[in-house]
């Protein structure tokens, strides 16, 4: 069956696709000759490769331009990319209040059901809803980011925080006080998200109302 064209429809409606599979046998015997069967020359050859790595790393270390693929955590830290998803946090607006309106969408979206919200009204403005309690059980959270995608208020976002280990399970239950993070410190994540909103907005999607 290797050389014959295989016609089969994999996608409904796509019709049969003709693909000629090009099969390449691996070269099993190649290069294992007399020399390779003697141990010593091959040890030398291996040492050339590993030695090259060693000396490149050593020179890099001496000249201060380290090549080794090691980060001396926690003294050094890597720079996370923009898309990085760390611990979910709540965005605190300029007035020190959560942006959250306690709609409960993140609670619905969460596959591991680790979010608990108690909705209430705001003291200064009873028309506005706000969470009176917002708990995330970080021992169950799997950092999937579906809460962030579900949120219609840009109120819960994935931060860069990942160091959340603790000695007790009860410490892993983050309440609103620990979750609230000022908007200014989340600027990088928010701008990443907003760039994506704009792109999606420019696409021909999002036309027409709900069905």
């Amino acid at each position: 069956m290797s050389e014959a064209p295989i016609t089969q429809s994999a996608w409904p409606g796509a019709g049969p696709t003709e693909v000629t599979a090009r099969v390449v046998p691996v070269r099993r015997k190649a290069g294992i000759g007399w020399l390779e069967r003697r141990y010593l020359p091959m040890i030398v050859r291996g040492l050339v490769t590993t030695g090259a790595h060693f000396f490149r790393n050593l020179i890099g270390f001496a000249t201060g331009r380290r090549r080794a693929f090691v980060v001396q955590y926690p003294e050094e830290r890597v720079q996370y990319p923009d898309a990085f998803r760390g611990m979910p946090v709540l965005v605190e607006d300029a007035h020190g209040r959560p942006r959250c309106v306690a709609c409960g969408l993140c609670e619905f979206a969460c596959p591991s059901h680790c979010i608990d919200i108690v909705a209430g009204e705001r003291d200064d403005d009873p028309v506005q809803r706000a969470p009176t309690a917002f708990d995330i059980d970080m021992s169950r959270c799997m950092f999937c980011g579906l809460c962030e995608e579900a949120c219609p208020e840009e109120a819960i976002v994935m931060s860069e925080a990942v160091e959340i280990a603790s000695f007790g399970r009860s410490d892993m239950r983050f309440d609103m006080e620990r979750l609230l993070v000022p908007e200014a410190t989340l600027a990088r994540r928010l701008s990443f998200l907003r760039a994506d909103y704009d792109r999606a907005d420019a696409s021909p999607r999002a036309t027409g109302g709900p069905r």
């Binding site: 290797s2 295989i6 994999a10 996608w11 409904p12 796509a14 696709t17 693909v19 599979a21 090009r22 099969v23 390449v24 046998p25 691996v26 070269r27 099993r28 290069g31 294992i32 390779e36 091959m42 050859r45 291996g46 490769t49 590993t50 790595h53 693929f69 996370y80 990319p81 923009d82 898309a83 990085f84 998803r85 709609c103 969408l105 979206a109 596959p111 799997m142 950092f143 999937c144 980011g145 579906l146 579900a150 219609p152 840009e154 998200l193 994506d196 909103y197 704009d198 792109r199 999606a200 907005d201 420019a202 696409s203 999607r205 999002a206 036309t207 027409g208 109302g209 709900p210 069905r211």
Partner: protein, 404 residues
Amino acid sequence: MAEGARARPRSDLHAEHQVLNMGPSHPATHGTVKFLIELDGETIVDLEPQVGYLHRGFEKECESGSWYQAIPYTDRLNYNSAILCNTGYVMAVEKLLGIETPERCQWLRVLASELSRLGDHLTRCGAACLELQAMTPFLYGIEARELCWDLQEMLCGARVTSNYVRIGGVKHDLPEAFPAAYEEISAKIRTLLRDFERVVTRNRIFVDRLRDTGVISREDCLRYAVTGPVLRAVGVPLDLRKDEPYLVYDQVDFDVPVGEVGDNYDRYLVCVAEMHQSLRIADQCMARLGRLGPAPVDVDDPAVRWPAKGRVFTRMEEMIQQFKSVTDGPQVPAGEGYFAIESANGELGFYLVSDGGARPVKVRCRPPSFVHMAPLPLMVRGAMLADLIPTFDFLNMIGGECDR
């Protein structure tokens, strides 16, 4: 376990067989698996793999959530190549929904899948070296995998549990810095791969450990439904990317490497060759994505893909749709569908049954790791105990996928 590929060894000494428990916490059983081994001296007389230590009720959990909520769980099936599992599940749902994703989305999925496959093969070959006491190539392999995961992190936001593919699209498009990073990192991966091969591929100790160990015949492969690199090492060029092309694999130029004998050395060579092919496919994806330019990556259907956030904030219709989409998710028409992709380990199939509601009736994952563990006794019966380690490594059993 009566069938034996090879004749049972006959001992000259009158000695009783010894039963050895290997695992569930053994360094060479990555993931958790236990082998109950019957030994005659150092020769394996019989072996029984005991799986299930990582059973988390994946299928039960999927049945209790919406179609959307299963996607992060698929990350945790094969945690070496999460995006492949994402893609398999999502494409099975899309098959039921009868939708086709935009071209750019398909190229992005292929790119992410191949990076994922590369990382999986690097882990497999690197870990195998480590367990054969070759520490240096392991570090080269893992360094290459880290670089590969850097790319995945840049693309998806997480190194391992990517959660990238969405029903009807992908989470987001390529970041702006990605093409430049890809150029740099793929060159580094190629260099590391070259060094990796230089150190082990023709190393006599390595070759002697792998050659003619863990042999499985073509017939046994078929009887046990073995797929993927293990089957290709036997010489059967079954690769779903070629045989039942999905996504845009029919527009990509790549070869299917096959072995001859079906031993561990063939499996190693096939995996290394596939890594080069994956890099080749990823190069083509990057070139094509550059040519395609900005284009939508999601289907134009707010009932399937959650609406664009920019509109959710400003328009009432999209806001309502967002609430409907999150609480209900896509309503999948009643029916059943099986969709299989070529994962790093073999055929990863998803059989989904819907009754037309917001929750699946049945989510069945056909895990290659689980299927490949069944013929393991055949491969090692009559071999030395030490041969079990490379055989098990090159089967690449992933606990999360095997036990679900």
